[in-house]
């Protein structure tokens, strides 16, 4: 069947990277950089980890059928729209001096 078989080393490398990133995120969370910055860094690392899992463990990178990737990214994108538009409300509840 047309599926790639990756060398075992590849999986171990990805796994090592994931573990490394996990340590990094745990350590960085202790470094006081301001709540926002800490959160953003943690989320960036989480996104990298997620991407690694998706590309290698879940074979998105080698999937012959690219639609799967499109579908998944779309789902994720949708979630961001969901957050974003909801926040237009919450982050601006005090705008215009209107109903306080």
């Amino acid at each position: 069947m047309s599926e790639h078989i990756l060398p075992k080393r590849m999986y171990l490398l990805v796994w090592a990277a994931l573990m490394g990133l996990m340590v990094l995120t745990a350590v960085l969370s202790r470094v006081p950089m301001g709540r926002e910055v800490n959160t953003i860094i943690a989320l960036i690392i989480a996104a990298i980890k997620a991407t690694l899992v998706l590309l290698f463990f879940m074979h998105l990178k080698y999937e012959s059928y690219k639609l799967s990737a499109v579908v998944f990214v779309a789902g994720f994108f949708w979630l961001l729209i969901f957050f974003g538009l909801t926040l237009t409300d919450y982050l601006s509840r005090h705008a215009f001096g209107a109903p306080h």
Binding site: G97, A98, P99, H100
Partner: protein, 339 residues
């Protein structure tokens, strides 16, 4: 002729004409397009009806037409949006010197209270020709305060103040409805809004049972509940001196600032631990379950009456408080009379 069948609601507030004009515009535009569609369907259906031996003329489409019926409606839609938004923005920005009325909704009645202390149930008396701002809260579920003749409506939420304002232009008695489904007697949660001449209003206001103004009720509560033991009028208390805090930016112990408004004062009383004033310990006990919504409104009125800083930083609408700041809120009725 249509005495038993009115087809248009009364126009009793300054918004009514704006809303009705927009409504008529929308009817005109959509009516026109509806007509166009109906006529086209009718004409095509008759003119191109199936005939023996006839052939349909195949047309694949036309970019010009597609562009036309994309862009023209889109343009009209934008007009609708902008116009609607303009009407709306007026409705959500209460003018600076509006007179305050407070509304508490509960299953299934409306309780209103004037700063002078007069309370009403399922009624609201207001003077004609004044801007009136309602500060509203619910004791239980979500309700919605709706006066069709004024074209105003806003949901009344538990746990948070919302507000609307209006400017009545016609004396009379108008429907007050609860418009958000709230349980068994939702349809019974109705009342009336009575718009009076300013002089009648003043008479009505003073004719009510001699009640304390909300601020002085609040002051009494402030003593009874023991707030005064910590919040003293000097700087020695265990809590901050509340004089002049209303309407200003308060610095919190996490370095952020908040604007002291009704919702903040309410939160400070019910959930003191969540926003702690810089320089103080989070020792204030919660009064959740101890004070009612009406008492809260009085306490807020009292805190407000302790004065507003003259040129507090960040206080972008100092004038809003004007009407209620002065301890002599009663003079407002007098104001109304003069106008």
């Amino acid at each position: 002729m249509f005495q038993n069948l009115p087809l248009w609601p009364e126009r009793a507030s300054s918004f009514a004409n704006n809303v009705d004009a927009l409504y008529i515009f929308l009817i005109a535009v959509t009516g026109f397009f509806t007509l166009v569609i109906f006529v086209m369907i009718g004409v095509f259906a008759v003119k191109y009806r199936q005939r023996a031996g006839g052939r349909a003329t195949q047309i694949e489409g036309s970019y010009a037409l597609e562009a036309t019926w994309t862009l023209i409606p889109f343009g009209l839609f934008m007009v609708m949006f902008v116009w609607g938004a303009a009407v709306f923005m007026k409705e959500v920005q209460p003018p600076a010197n509006a007179m305050d009325v407070f509304v508490v909704g509960k299953q299934w009645m409306w309780k209103t209270q004037h700063p002078e202390g007069v309370r009403e149930i399922n009624q609201l008396h207001v003077p004609v020709g004044r801007d009136v701002k309602l500060t509203m809260i619910s004791q239980d579920v979500i309700h919605s305060f709706y006066i069709p003749a004024f074209r105003v409506k806003h949901d009344v939420l538990p746990g948070r103040y919302t507000s609307i304002w209006f400017h009545a232009v016609k004396t009379g008695t108008y429907h007050l409805f609860c418009a958000e489904y709230c349980g068994t007697l939702h349809s019974g949660m109705i009342g009336e809004v009575i718009v009076m001449d300013p002089s009648d209003y003043a008479k009505w206001l003073s004719g009510g049972a001699a009640e304390d103004s909300m601020a002085s009720t609040g002051e009494k509560l402030f003593q009874q509940l023991g707030c005064a033991t910590c919040h003293r009028s000097d700087t020695q208390g265990r809590g901050p001196n509340l004089a002049g805090v209303y309407g200003k930016q308060q610095l919190l112990d996490n370095g952020q600032t908040v604007f002291v408004d009704d919702n903040y004062v309410r939160e400070s009383i019910l959930n003191p631990g969540s926003k702690v004033v810089s320089g103080f310990k989070p020792i204030m006990p919660t009064f959740n379950g101890i004070v009612s919504e009406e008492q809260l409104l009085s306490l807020i009125a009292y805190v407000k009456s302790l004065g507003v800083p003259q040129n507090a930083p960040g206080s972008n609408r100092p004038a809003v408080q004007q009407g209620v700041t002065a301890p002599n809120t009663a003079s407002k009725a007098g104001n109304a009379k003069v106008q």
